[in-house]
């Protein structure tokens, strides 16, 4: 602030300071930053306690361990048990299916709506639309599940009321294996579509108006402009968002946790909910649950690595 108004002198000093820093050895630099290290200690302690200390607990994946007894080493037994468990594969397949379909739907809807919003001429209307469609993103999953549990309720829900008036049978949507996934995708779109458009709207506003002008001079209509300019310009953003989300497909949890129930485990149970149920409920099988969690972490790590390579290919930059 002040330095910009002063004359040349601070800059000269700056140059001297920088060269002085360069000349300092590692010891001198540590001394210079001593205060920073002190400031950083609490952050580092929290990071260590809550992130690195649990990593030591991964050893429980190789033990028989419940809260009612000591951990005993059983080698890879948990993993053989895991790969034979039908419930585990069910959860694994559901994780992939629910995440990937959800990701594809989110891309299609968010890009589509971003394109339509971009065509709104009046700034005020655009702002109103944005304000409204971002809103559901900020409702907690518990609230969203609450709203839809009430609306879809078999006895009192408004959707079933409408169905009945139209002469259909009442359906208990959230406990029905045939309906659960569709409802799940719908609720996810309801909550996150608007928020997903932000990044595409930002990318759209970054497209140079010169391109459109040139296209117009060449006689391209609006549709052609969208097809030959807008979509190709967005392609990079679409790919990056897709890749970033691909890295996270194993993380699906809370949305399922608040919407599923025992009658739809076959179509709804995912790895994280399975990990929770085997470790924190029923038999409290800490060892087995840790093994499932470790398997999930390793798959997630592979996915991140894969995404990183893809990202480097597409953008020239990795994601981590």
């Amino acid at each position: 602030m002040a330095s910009t108004t002063k004359s040349v002198r601070p800059t000269e000093q700056l140059g001297r300071l920088q060269s002085k820093n360069k000349k300092r050895g590692i010891g001198g630099r540590i001394k210079r930053y001593a205060n920073f290290y002190v400031m950083f200690i609490p952050v580092l302690v929290i990071l260590f306690l809550f992130y690195y200390l649990p990593m030591y607990g991964i050893k429980y994946a190789f033990t028989e361990f419940t809260p009612f007894g000591e951990a005993t080493w059983i080698g890879l037994d948990n993993f053989t048990k895991l790969f034979e468990a039908q419930r585990f594969w069910n959860a694994f397949n559901n994780t992939l299916f629910l995440s990937i379909i959800n990701l594809v739907l989110s891309m299609v809807f968010s890009v589509g709506i971003a394109l339509l919003m971009n065509e709104i001429g009046r700034l005020f209307i655009k702002k109103v639309v944005q304000t409204v469609i971002y809103l559901p993103h900020f409702l907690s999953w518990v609230v969203v599940a609450g709203i839809f549990t009430i609306i879809l309720s078999q006895e009192t829900g408004v959707v079933n009321l409408i169905l009945e008036k139209m002469g259909f049978d009442r359906i208990d949507f959230l406990t029905n294996e045939g309906w659960w996934r569709s409802i799940f995708f719908f609720i996810n779109r309801w909550k996150e579509t608007g928020w997903g458009t932000i990044i595409f709207i930002a990318a759209l506003s970054g497209i140079s108006p010169d391109l459109y002008e040139a296209a117009e001079i060449d006689g391209a209509g609006r549709l052609k402009q969208t097809w030959y300019i807008t979509i190709p310009s967005l392609m990079n953003t679409i790919l990056v968002v897709f890749i970033l989300n691909l890295a996270k497909i194993m993380n699906i949890f809370e949305s399922v946790f608040v919407l599923y129930n025992a009658s739809v485990y076959n179509v709804a149970d995912v790895i994280q909910t399975y990990t929770y149920r085997v470790g924190m409920q029923g038999t409290f099988n800490y060892g087995y649950s840790t093994a499932v969690g470790l398997f999930k972490s390793v798959v997630a790590l592979v996915l991140v690595g894969f995404s990183n390579i893809m990202s480097s290919k597409v953008t020239g930059k990795g994601i981590v």
Partner: protein
């Protein structure tokens, strides 16, 4: 780009498109708002009709809200939500700003390692049970601190903050240093005041995260006096039995459930219109990094 709204020859197609586009987006907006509106209406209706579709309360009452704010069993979770959100947001911002400030010190020995230590937690973690056992081991089980600490260290927000700090001109720090300002002084007197938009944006992200938290309470807290409003709401929504507080006041459980949802949304709904731009800043800030 033509903005003229007219049905004359050259503009006709464009205008028709605009109209359909607007109608389509209006339908989307209505689809977003109607579920919330329905809940809102039913929360102030004495009778939630099970035979008619009403988008307006038949018999208006604020009884359910009065119960939530007067009965301890319902108000206490609300209060827990408020104080954990306040403490958590403060702690989260403290950790993110200090962490981010250290990570932008390019000359500092060890910065690369620190940065790597943060990044690694984004791609790998101990998992549910090991983290749970650490929390128990630290004596944090059944305290709100278990939730406050686990959410406070958010590497994603820290990286966002770092992206913001990186945009500040380095010459400012160096000039301040020449003037004899300590690192902590630079942090307090220069970095923080210049980062108000980022603080607002990331602070709001933290606030929303703490307010919305549900799973970590289920996992770490059993004492009903320390459970937040999300847990209470979940319990209310899922119960098939008549809610005692509602029954005493002659209300339907449905009214009570709807009112609890609205109370849960309310604090955020009040600030949202004023803060929307900060949320967007946060997201686009993250996009720059990508």
């Amino acid at each position: 780009m033509k903005k003229k709204f007219s049905f004359s020859k050259g503009y006709r197609g464009r205008t028709i498109f605009s109209i359909f586009n607007f109608i389509f987006l209006a339908i989307i907006m209505i689809a977003m708002l109607i579920p919330i509106w329905k809940v809102c209406v039913d929360s102030v209706s004495r009778e939630v009709s099970s035979t008619d579709i009403s988008l307006w309360p038949q018999v208006f009452t604020l009884e359910a809200y009065k119960i939530i704010f007067t009965k301890k069993a319902l108000f206490n979770p609300f209060w827990v939500s408020i104080y954990t959100t306040a403490i958590g947001t403060f702690l989260g911002l403290l950790i993110s700003t200090i962490g981010a400030y250290i990570l932008i010190q390019r000359d500092m020995p060890g910065v690369k390692i620190f940065s790597w230590l943060f990044m690694f937690t984004m791609i790998f973690n101990g998992g549910l049970v090991p983290t749970f056992l650490v929390i128990v081991g630290l004596g944090l089980y059944d305290t709100v601190w278990a939730v406050i600490f686990t959410l406070g260290m958010n590497v994603y927000n820290l990286v966002l903050m770092r992206s913001f700090f990186e945009q500040l001109p380095v010459s400012l720090f160096e000039a301040a240093e020449i003037d004899g300002c300590s690192p902590f002084g630079i942090f307090i007197k220069i970095v923080l005041p210049l980062s108000k938009p980022a603080l607002a944006s990331i602070g709001l992200f933290f606030a929303v995260a703490y307010w919305s938290e549900y799973f970590h309470y289920v996992l770490y807290v059993t004492d009903p006096d320390k459970l937040n409003f999300q847990v209470k709401l979940r319990e209310l929504v899922l119960t098939d039995e008549p809610i005692p507080e509602a029954k005493d006041a002659g209300l339907m459980s449905e009214t009570m459930k709807n009112a609890a949802i609205i109370v849960n949304i309310l604090p955020f709904a009040i600030i949202y219109p004023f803060c929307q731009k900060y949320f967007v800043t946060g997201v686009t800030l993250g996009a720059v990094k990508e």
